[in-house]
């Protein structure tokens, strides 16, 4: 089956499980950019150019520096044949941000045109092992919503997103991590008078998605819905009032520019495009031979960055995913803006990957696999702290403490 659910006998409470079960070790071809940087620093010829290159990229005029400054170009040419040119980073690795920063030190100078799309700093994904299974699941394409996941007849008000919450709540680590980011994202930020601190909320969301196994996090993000209530719960998963919405919508090209100034956001956006975007005429709907899992993982890792995407409303049949931005005010670059927005709103690979995930749950549901119990014992009772305030009609998450 495209999605497997295996019982957990022991749940190590602080297991930093990789959030994506790609090839575990860095495949032999790739050196990671921290090692590559160390190797360069051990070589005087390389390390001096590396220092120069870092200077070239500081400050506003880095475009001009790269184009016209002889020293910057000479430095770049040396670094092109150093390990730094070919290094990559592993998703969820230790010191991931530093690895990404090292990567962009070289590749910032290489992007051949301001607004062209970047190549991904992360190691390439291995092609999908069971292309047929995926193809069966993703038989339909285009944006007519195929016959989605169907609820087993037995369950009257089946709500896969509620089941996903249950699975998380019954797992100590998932429950704790989920409570932590919801509490952070629902807490009023008194000094700024805003409803919450978006920065802290994003960090908490990233930690949740890094630490909690994808079988829990993806189920919360991509649970298939057949009712509006379920779709609204799915939309609320990332506490959008804090992590997603803002007073005003920036222009999408502006949002992309801001994202590209941050190594993490730039890297994860590039990874999303590499793993989730196929040029319209391609044979399969997802890169890497329809590797849906890689697409979902790179989509999930965008959550908690400037480019955080989310379901735009609570429609379940014809849902749309988008970052919080608009193409109004794009001037002559409206087409470019619309093309960028389509990476999210009109992305067949992403749509199929999410639907395939739904079929996966369907298979799991039919085999009535019991939700993995935990054997972790805690001497204490469990607790919630009492709740928060929220707007009248749609309640944002509640934070409860039984202490």
């Amino acid at each position: 089956p495209p999605f497997s659910c295996h019982p957990h006998l022991f749940l190590h409470l602080d297991e930093a499980a990789s959030s994506w079960d790609g090839p575990s070790a860095l495949s032999p071809e790739w050196v990671d950019c921290i090692q590559a940087s160390d190797m360069c620093n051990q070589n005087p010829y390389c390390s001096s150019r590396y220092r120069v290159m870092r200077q070239c990229l500081v400050g506003k005029e880095k475009e001009a520096m790269l184009d016209n400054n002889r020293e910057c170009q000479a430095a770049l040419e040396v670094l092109l044949v150093s390990p730094l040119y070919d290094c990559r980073c592993k998703r969820g690795m230790k010191k991931e941000l530093q690895c990404l920063q090292n990567y962009w030190t070289i590749h910032m100078g290489l992007t051949e045109g301001g607004d062209m799309d970047d190549s991904s700093p992360y190691e390439p994904v291995a092609p999908n092992r069971h292309p047929d299974a995926f193809r069966l699941a993703s038989i339909s394409s285009g944006n007519t919503a195929p016959k989605g996941f169907h609820c087993p007849d037995a369950e009257r008000n089946c709500n896969p997103c509620l089941d996903a919450a249950k699975a998380c709540n019954l797992n100590n680590s998932c429950k704790r991590q989920r409570s932590s980011y919801i509490a952070t994202c629902s807490k009023e930020d008194p000094n700024k008078g805003e409803t919450c601190s978006k920065k802290r909320c994003h960090k908490a969301l990233r930690m949740f998605l890094d630490r909690v196994p994808t079988e829990y996090s993806h189920r919360l993000l991509f649970c298939p819905c057949q009712t509006e209530g379920c779709a609204e719960r799915r939309r609320q998963t990332i506490v959008p009032d804090c992590s997603y919405k803002d007073k005003e919508k920036p222009n999408c090209l502006e949002l992309r520019r801001v994202c590209r100034q941050d190594s993490l956001c730039r890297s994860r956006l590039a990874d999303y495009l590499v793993n989730c975007w196929m040029t319209p005429h391609a044979v399969s709907t997802c890169p890497n031979q329809d590797n849906h899992q890689a697409c979902l993982a790179s989509y999930a890792r965008l959550i908690g960055t400037e480019m955080t995407p989310n379901y735009v409303d609570s429609s379940f049949s014809n849902w749309t995913i988008s970052p919080w931005c608009t193409c109004k005010g794009s001037g002559n670059q409206e087409e470019e803006c619309m093309n960028f927005l389509r990476y999210f709103t009109d992305n067949t690979c992403l749509r199929n990957a999410i639907q395939a995930f739904g079929y996966g749950i369907d298979n799991m549901q039919n085999k009535s696999v019991s939700v993995p119990g935990t054997s972790a014992m805690t001497k204490t009772g469990w607790d919630w702290t009492t709740g928060t305030s929220e707007p009248p009609f749609v309640a944002i998450p509640k934070v409860i403490g039984l202490h």
Partner: protein, 607 residues
Amino acid sequence: LYFPQNEYIETVYVGQPAGTPILQVHAMLDSDSERPHFYLCWSSLRRPAHSSWFHLDVHTGVLSLNKTLEESDFAFPNQHSWSVKKLVLHAMVLPNFSKKSHCVNRNSPRITLDFVNATLPQCAQTDMKELCFPHRDTSNPHIMENRFPGALRQLRRLTRLNVCPNYTITYNVESDTPAPFAVNENTTELVVTAPLDREESECYRLLLVCTVQTELVITKVETSLDVFVNDEDDNAPYVNGTDTADIVISFNRTKGGSFGTLFVFDRDLTPIYPIDQSHNKYVGTLLNSDPWLDKTFDIKGTFSEKKAAHGGIRETVHDYQLVLKRNLYVNENRTVQLDYLVNDTTYPGLEGTVLLHFNVTILPVQIRFANITQMFTLTRRASVYAQVGRVCVENCQHFDGFSVLYRLEVPDRNVSADLQSCYAAISITQAPDEMWGVLYVNDSGALRRPECQDLQYLVVAQEEHTQQEASTQIHILLDGEANKAGQESQQVLSCAENRRRGDCESVRGLGATTGRCQWRQGTEKGISENYSTCSPDLRTCPDSFCDAVESKDTSICPQDCTKETVIGGHERGLGNGIKAGYGTCYCYSEKCFCEKEDIEEVICDDM
């Protein structure tokens, strides 16, 4: 000179001989005298190895092979993709000859050639669409309005020129709406035949028809092409309606207050991206030199994109509001006129400006009470902090930008010491941002003394800055029996501690206007704003607002003021208090609880 297209995509195959044409780049003229000179160029990269395999004709912009592509050309350093090699080139256009090979600016289109490790498909293996149009030409042309006609795109697929020599391939262009486009039959280039006007049409949806004629069969293949029209600042700003706003400033005269709105329209676009280079830059200048005006007023301008009624063409609306830079004193009284010149700095023509007028009348604010004696009745059994009522100068609820302070005075100074102490019964307070005073019981003992009969006070209101004062008489009628035996023995606690109606209505509580606490019985099932609770005065507590009197002591109305933990199902008010609760909400000093009414309490040992 500019490129209408910023990306070209084509496929090249092993075995294609030197001289094979691949694609043609085009540049559009900005002025009639310009002549494009095309060059391949490199951004900051070293000249890529594969660049020498290609030649770009300086005049025609045709990219062709400089050498025959060999299988050995596939062995590339530093390339990790598996099946197809991506060769990336960049082109630039200059108005004159040049030896430079460095890409001049960021607007140099990218040419991506998929180099396939196979030979060019023969005529029999090439379907009509492959023959007629480039495989994945995704980039749509963008043409600047008001420019010269010219060729913008090669329709013919140059790499397939000689694949089917006995086919005759011709192109023409169709469009639902009239569109100034045609095909140059000799060069098979798509040509724009007249200057375009974005304000008339932003995008032309063309249908490119490729007709392939063989001896026996004529086949037509179609594909659509969107040609976008880029905007430039070729429209002056204009006012649709009035250019004058008549503004009266009276009660609300607070710093930051905004008044009146005037609109200026512009049929051009004002992009919000990139933020710093906002084309169609509007600059506004206040033409008055009076320093007072400069210190007091500012004009705030914002703009937004909207679609014109007919044709849905995007245009810009600028709106301008008068803003106060500081609070105005209550005695400020003058009429001024502000002229504000709006200048569309990027509009080349002369009439790029619009003059707006703000006629401002500033009225003074009278601090006065309505000339009536306000009467308040109060039971002698009222507890300390019981709220008696509010006093407010006329229009106080509209005031903003200045503050009025209230105090109580005894009208008759030379009353006896005993009587003087009666006046300690009532006091007045005021929340920082509120414009009214709240009368409350300050000394409940005095209320109960027989000698303290009806109390008359003078309420004085004073405007903080100008010290302008007004006063009024208030009369507090005490009803109920004076308590000859002196203080009532019962201790006064917080009403909120009581969990049942019986306890609640039988005790005295802080702030209780009737002397007894009042019970509110909730009716709803779940967590609701109408929770059951015991209150000193149901008119003001709970009302989700920790008012001036309640904030003097949290035990007066913890339901509105508590910052402590609340146990049980509830929703917190903004900042503090309990906005909604489950069942009955009650509070001790350390904690509040909201829970369904329990039947009887079980001590753990009795189990």
